[in-house]
Symmetry: C2
């Protein structure tokens, strides 16, 4: 930077990590530029509720500008990052080049189809509002198609929902789809019995919620089965097309006819990270230094889900969850604030993740929660889950409306956002191949 | 129909007219099939509030199945009507042929570009949830683009919004866009002054709200101008492209550079009506008999916006508004119910429209209202408008949430649904030409 000018900190990504970083720089003598390709911050832990028609997108998303409006040293730019020149200290956004003194990458992860990118069109993942609306459209359309389908086998396929991947998102989606079929809509249909719908949750590991304690996994599996979800463990999808899914290979392979498949199985780093020549793990995450800087680039930091980092204090790998994103974002924000304020970097020490616990819901009034060595299940865990999630929603407005929507759902089983909209938000596999080729 | 079987009444369209018709048949000894290409009933008078980020789609739309769930003689079918054979008494829906004893067309109107179908891609109209989300996307994106635009002329074009057509929808859109620019978002932006945005409302007639009393038009124009809207009267768009609009022709033509043009100028009958060979007016509406049957087809009725009908009682043309839709739908539902119950048709007499008044809002706390010979303006009219619209929203749930959202907007000027979603909901003009050709 030129003498006398304020240093420029460019933060890429307005998720939990990026927001926390920008906010931690609120009083720093620096100009913060917060870049996101979308205009809104998304409360991702509740995105599955949009996909299952319980909440509207606006309940869990707020304009980033609105969130940052009172922080006068922060400029919000909606745009796509096209290039990063680490040597020159420049970043290209929608054809404009900007200089930076510090760069913080907080752009998160996207779906990983492990080389089967053609599956994306038939098995959408859940990362954005548009993804959620597309899944909602497919789930609701399946019941509509079943209602007018004359052929028994075709109707069974319309009423079969497959969720691939049993992390928190997969578990929550499967539970919610089962509840839609059995509780929310049966009386709305005349010909088809929606309670006959089948929800199949497929997981490659030998238990659901593999990152949780085994007892929580057991409890979650039992709760899912009570809701009628079939849980298939230790098997992976080997083929997915418009007619269904093949699970496993060879003699043990099982074919499931289904018109609605959802992908919750894998993630990889957003492509922006590929613009940086630094060591990465096989998911594309950056193997950061202990101050979360990128190796060889002391002024470039990586935060949130994008870090491949083992906590030196306890030897544990920091997971890709909202809490870790917020903590790493704040850590880097404070580090840069100290440095531009004249302090030395060493005083920040290494990043340490303080794990406050994990939670996942299974349906309307069941959840599993782990806080330290404590483990809860059932209604108590669900209440805890609700309180924690509402308290983290940004802004009083979103909190109020989410509580109201949930109360309504809880009392009347009525999902407020059962709308089929959009034409074809998800790109065709064909388009994708063309675009890639 | 075969002896002993219950007559089948097919109602096409789940808007105000179709729902009213189906409900009026609730106790009739008939099987009612309610067909709509969408899964939801839409409260169209508030759709402009979705387009301007004040409400979420779910606040003003409810699943048709949900609305009709308790009416056991009604089956809801989501599907597209492909053919009507009036002689055979059959209707083709998504490849399936159904027979009918009575057919009621309640499928409403769509945008009319008066031969300029290529304008559709650059000047979307407002009829569906997808239309509203597309307009919301364009309005919000224009401010985002202005924030990063370096060129003065280009920034002015980004900040210029043109609404073509000053009926209630056009007036309400123009007022709401002006309020977004001047009240909701100025503090969210750093470089651009959104209060400098220009909203231009263009109307071919010599006053806004041409169907209202002249005094209301005057009042509405004054209120719009107070909000900073430029009202251009007696002029029509002669060209629209991605860079702006030309108003008028020849020497008096005026070019307006704008990146966001909204079409609220014309309507024509949905294409389903074209499948019936009956006399129509130039908007494609059916010149119905006094019992609202289609001439020459005593078992086919037309209701809602689709009728070209002069009330024999007072010689006035029945307007295309929600009230008239509900009344005509109920009239035909009751007529069919009486007939299938063994009564004679003549006893229903001619359809008479009971006009309870008209209203349009201009911004947050201003409106014009006409009830009989009474005319209100300002805050009183706005309160009346709010009460009437909320009371007509279907279901307690939608009412409650709409009231809450409005209270929030009224107190904090904060629009709850400021999300930019979707990629390209509106079909390209090119696609449309291909499809038509």
């Amino acid at each position: 930077m030129s003498a006398g000018e304020r240093p420029i900190v460019v933060v890429v990504g307005g998720g939990f990590a990026g927001l926390a970083c920008a906010r931690a720089l609120g009083r720093a003598p620096a100009d913060v530029v917060l870049v996101d390709r979308r205009n809104h911050h998304l409360f991702q832990p509740l995105l599955y509720q949009v996909a299952t028609a319980a909440l509207s997108p606006a309940n869990i998303a707020s304009p980033i500008r609105r969130i940052m409006r009172t922080q006068r040293n922060c400029t919000v730019v909606m745009g796509e990052v096209e290039a990063i020149d680490a040597e020159a200290g420049t970043i290209g956004i929608d054809g404009n080049e900007r200089t930076f003194d510090y760069l913080v990458l907080a752009c998160g992860m996207t779906h990983n189809y492990f080389g089967h990118d053609d599956w994306q069109g038939v098995a959408p993942g859940l990362k954005s509002v548009d993804d959620a609306l597309e899944i909602r459209r497919r789930v609701l359309l399946a019941f509509e198609a079943a209602e007018v389908e004359a052929d028994d086998a075709a109707r069974r396929a319309e009423l079969t929902f497959v969720v691939i991947g049993a992390g928190p998102t997969g578990v929550e989606l499967a539970g919610a789809i089962a509840e839609i079929a059995t509780q929310s809509i049966p009386r709305d249909f005349r010909r088809v019995d929606t309670r006959a719908a089948k929800v199949i949750l497929v997981e490659g590991a030998d238990r659901v919620l593999p990152t949780f304690h085994e007892a929580s996994s057991e409890r979650a599996k039992r709760d899912l089965e009570k809701l009628g979800v079939e849980v298939v463990l230790g098997r992976m999808a080997s083929a997915i097309d418009g007619d269904g899914v093949t699970i496993g290979t060879g003699d043990g392979a099982r074919r499931i006819d289904s018109r609605c498949v959802v992908w919750a199985a894998g993630l990889r780093a957003e492509s922006v990270v590929g613009m940086l020549e630094v060591p990465k793990d096989k998911m594309g995450r950056v193997e950061v230094e202990s101050d979360l800087s990128a190796p060889g680039h002391p002024n470039i930091f990586v935060v949130g889900d994008l870090i491949a980092y083992t906590d030196p204090e306890n030897g544990e790998v920091v997971p890709g969850v909202a809490q870790a994103a917020m903590q790493s974002g704040r850590f880097v924000g404070e580090l840069i604030a100290a440095e531009v304020g004249g302090g030395s970097r060493g005083s920040s020490g290494a990043f340490h993740y303080n794990d406050k616990g994990s939670m996942a819901t299974i349906g309307r009034a069941r959840a599993v929660a782990e806080v330290g060595s404590l483990r809860f299940g059932g209604f108590v865990a669900w209440v805890l889950w609700s309180v924690v999630h509402v308290s983290f929603l940004i802004g009083f407005r979103s909190k109020l409306f989410a509580i109201l929507e949930w109360s309504w759902l809880y009392i009347f089983w009525s999902r407020g956002a059962r709308l089929i909209t959009g034409h074809r938000a998800q790109p065709d596999p064909a388009d994708r191949v063309d675009a890639a080729g």
